[in-house]
């Protein structure tokens, strides 16, 4: 079998894999909110600064 068949099938399989990844990403709602994640990723630092305190108060009325 000529090498071109192998190359072609590989290239198409790779392309289809990426395509499936794209569809899955859209389906999971990744494209619904394009702003919040960009802010959220900057928060990690602030969270580290906090020490878990034993007196986590539950606000219940």
């Amino acid at each position: 079998m000529s090498v071109i068949y192998i190359l072609l099938s590989i290239s198409i399989i790779v392309a289809i894999l990426f395509f499936i990844a794209f569809i899955a990403a859209v389906k999971s709602g990744q494209y619904d909110d394009s702003y919040t994640p960009s802010v959220r990723m900057l928060f990690e630092d602030e969270l580290v600064k906090e020490q878990p305190k034993p007196s986590v108060k539950s606000k219940k009325d």
Binding site: L8, Y31, D33, T36, E46, V56, S58, K59
Partner: protein
């Protein structure tokens, strides 16, 4: 006096300053929020953004309805008895601090497992353990930190809404196929014959065929559907030649590769669909935080307190209210149904319904209408109608609300496409007839080639890219337009109708004129200091208008509810309030006034006038040349003289218009050929906004609710209305020029097609070239318009 601003909410601390931890707060509410945050190590909230908070509101009993299971069921999107997920709309979300604090809710209540903010939609999706923490707890927690969720009758629907993502899928598929087909067709562009290409040609071609299948039958499906709909209603819309082009491309290419006649036009086919879908995608600009489809449901509460025969108070769903039910309306709550006042001091603000700005006092036994807002204390009422049958809600049963405005409007593109399709078809038939006599073997070839090359890709792209880009530019300038066709309709209007209250006036009434006997300095001092102690809205406004004075201690201060205030200092005695209260014999007038008497002698009155938006006369003067101008107000005629002075003489002024009067007025003028632009703000304009060709809602704060409309204009940009209309007109000119441009491409292509020389490679070059140059032209042109617009 130096101004101190609140550490939490950023408001000026006017009267009281509360210090805590070296920080200043304007009220106890703000201080409490700070305390909650600092106890839980969440003070980072204030580092991300300075003074990001809001003052938590008093909500005693307001959310009692959330303890009802059937209501909770409707509001949660997931509920298995242990875990519940609810998405709450929080209007206050505005900065990164908001995102941070709301996503750390689990620090404040350990039973909340996670919370996720969608900044664009201003929602937070909270997951919590429902055995230990109810939805009510979550809502109360949010409220206690100043993020009160907005829950309205609109949320009252079961299940999650499906987000329509089909266009993204379609663009994805078309793009994917386009890229792959281009790769596969490249070998044949460069090598016409030879052993290698002969061997692999069939494989490449059939692969291209396979890739184009989903493009034609899934991604391009809408064009066939739309063309079919157009034809069955005897309309040659733009989708007819497009669908024809796609079909011919696909059939001819398939025939070509099946009989080994050529390589087909799969590259052009997939490229065409991809570009067209991109245009559609670009035209869609959605403002997720705005809604253009609101009706009374977004204003109405979900539940209200019902008093049953035993005198117990239970929350009841608004839809379940029956005739004869006794309802309890708290301060600041909306009356959901028409009814009769049983007891309590009712002061109803009907500004939603009528546009009348003054709150009305009602006696027990008086009729109350749905949509009014109680503004002083608690009242009890008896329902006499159900929600759907109430006076206000009946407005929505009018046909206007169920018809789609776009249906009756022929767009510029469709007007062109009608002639275009006829011309293309006649060229195709003439050329085919010609070739039938000269060289019959080429006849079919030429016929299909004409339909392929004339496929109006560039024409179809002109409008979406022009309007799409303008939509974005308008959005940046705080003019939020629902969709592209609104801009097109805006360019065609010839009559502009304005509502008065809240539209051409600003919400604050800040001008007052004094007439009467001039006040002595000592009296002015006393007046100012007396007003200082009162919380009545009119006293507060008047207080702000008067000059600064020293603060003195009053000997005596007394407020008579609904009448006025009296106070004394040293030997002076002052009375401020209604005419009868201060002892004036003046008959009631239409304008709101505050009367003053000192030492039992009548002095005069302050009359309040609406304060009109900045640049109002200038706007009207620039509009009067081209448009008929009308003021259609639900208010009384009190402002007639004032408006006459301000506005151009030919402006029609019509007062005392009920919501359906406004609608009928517009309908009548439309039958006489007027293209009406309605500008309004409240629910009372909802009918008029829906009936008009273009309905624009003016909003002081776009996050707050505005009625269903075609566009929302930020109040601060009101004076630029004329520039926006002018820009819409320029957009039409741009589109006409790009039509000219695409006709040139079509003529070049038709030359190749008619002479029977159309090779796939020419089509593959011409199609993207024309599309891309149109996109570039419209983008540059609209940006120039946009730059002019932001300068003005």
């Amino acid at each position: 006096m130096e101004q101190t601003t609140c550490f939490h909410c950023g408001d000026n601390c006017n009267t009281t300053i509360i210090s805590y931890n070296d920080k200043n707060f304007c009220c106890n509410g703000c201080k409490t929020v700070y305390e909650i945050f600092s106890e839980n190590d969440l003070t980072c909230y204030y580092d991300l953004q300075s003074s990001p908070g809001a003052i938590p509101k008093e909500i005693e009993g307001k959310y009692d309805f959330l303890s009802k299971d059937n209501i909770v069921d409707k509001l949660t999107e997931f509920n298995d008895g242990k875990t519940q997920i609810a998405t709450l709309f929080i209007p206050h979300i505005h900065c990164s601090s908001c995102i941070w604090i709301l996503e750390n809710l689990n620090k404040l209540n350990p039973f909340i497992t996670s919370s996720q903010v969608n900044f664009g939609k201003k929602t937070v999706r909270v997951t919590y353990k429902s055995e230990t923490c109810s939805l009510k707890d979550v809502v109360l927690l949010l409220n206690s930190i100043g993020y009160e969720p907005y829950i309205s009758l609109d949320d009252f629907k079961t299940g999650t809404q499906n987000v329509n993502r089909s266009l993204i899928y379609k663009v994805g598929i078309a793009g994917f196929a386009f890229g792959n087909v281009m790769f596969l067709s490249f070998p044949e562009y460069f090598q016409v014959d030879g052993f290698w290409i002969e061997k692999y040609k069939p494989l490449f071609r059939w692969l291209m065929f396979a890739f184009s299948l989903p493009v034609v039958f899934y991604a391009g499906r809408d064009y066939f559907v739309s063309a079919y709909k157009g034809l069955s209603s005897k309309l040659l819309n733009i989708d007819v030649p497009i669908a024809l082009g796609i079909a011919v491309l696909f059939i001819r290419s398939t025939v070509e590769i099946a009989f080994d006649l050529g390589s087909g036009f799969f590259d052009s086919l997939t490229g065409l669909v991809f570009f067209l879908l991109l245009g559609k995608f670009f035209q869609q600009k959605t403002y997720t935080f705005l809604s253009f489809e609101r009706d009374y449901k977004s204003y109405f509460p979900i539940a209200i307190t019902k008093i049953n025969k035993q005198g117990d108070e239970t929350p009841i769903q608004v839809y379940d209210i029956e005739k004869g039910d006794r309802l309890l309306i708290r301060n600041e709550e909306l009356i959901p149904v028409d009814g009769i006042l049983i007891n309590g001091k009712a002061k109803i603000d009907y500004s939603f319904v009528t546009g009348e700005s003054e709150a009305l006092r009602k006696q027990s036994g008086d009729k109350l209408f749905a949509g009014g807002k109680q503004t002083s204390g608690v009242i009890e009422m008896e329902a006499i109608k159900s929600v759907e049958q109430s006076y206000l809600t009946q407005l929505w049963s009018n046909d206007v609300f169920s018809t789609n405005k776009e249906d009756g409007f022929t767009t510029l593109t469709n007007t062109i496409s009608k002639r275009f399709t006829i011309i293309v078809l006649s060229i195709a038939f003439i050329a085919t007839t010609f070739w039938l006599f000269t060289d019959p073997s080429k006849a079919m070839n030429v016929f299909t080639a004409v339909l392929i090359i004339a496929c109006p890709c560039a024409i179809a792209l002109s409008a979406p890219f022009t309007f799409g880009n303008l939509l974005r530019i308008f959005g940046k300038l705080k003019f939020y337009v629902k969709n592209a066709s609104v801009i097109e309709q805006l360019a065609a209007i010839n009559t502009i109708i304005f509502d008065k209250t809240g539209t051409i006036t600003s919400n604050k009434r800040s001008t007052a004129n004094y007439d009467g006997i001039a006040l002595k300095p000592s009296e002015e001092l006393l007046l100012k200091n007396t007003l200082r102690g009162s919380n009545h809205p009119l006293s507060r406004t008047l207080y702000d208008i008067l000059d600064e004075h020293n603060i003195i201690t009053l000997n005596n201060f007394e407020e008579h509810l609904g009448k006025g205030i009296e106070a004394s200092h040293n030997n002076d005695h002052i009375k401020i309030g209604s005419a009868s209260f201060v002892g004036s014999e003046e008959l009631s007038v239409l304008n709101t006034a505050v009367h003053i008497s000192t030492n039992n002698q009548y002095k005069g009155k302050y009359t309040f006038y609406n304060s009109y938006r900045k640049g109002l006369s200038k706007l009207f003067n620039s509009l009067k040349k081209q448009f008929d101008l009308v003021i259609l107000s639900g208010d009384n005629e009190g402002e007639f003289d004032n408006l006459k002075k301000l506005l151009p003489s030919k402006t029609k002024l019509i007062f005392n218009q009920k919501p359906d009067d406004k609608l009928e007025y517009i309908k009548y003028h439309q039958t006489e050929g007027a293209k009406v632009l309605m500008i309004g703000d409240g629910l009372n304009d909802a009918g008029a906004l829906a009936q008009s060709n273009v309905g624009i809602a003016i909003s002081e704060n776009v996050n707050v609710f505005s009625p269903a409309c075609d566009a929302i204009l930020d109040a601060s940009k009101f004076n630029q209305l004329y520039s926006f209309i002018k820009a819409s007109k320029s957009a039409i000119t741009i589109i006409k020029w790009s039509f000219v441009l695409s006709f040139i491409y079509n003529i070049i292509g038709l030359y190749f097609a008619v002479t029977g020389q159309l090779a796939p490679v020419i089509a593959a070059i011409l199609m993207p070239l024309s599309s891309i140059s149109i996109v570039i032209f419209t983008t540059i042109a609209t940006n120039i318009v946009g730059r002019k617009l932001s300068k003005s």
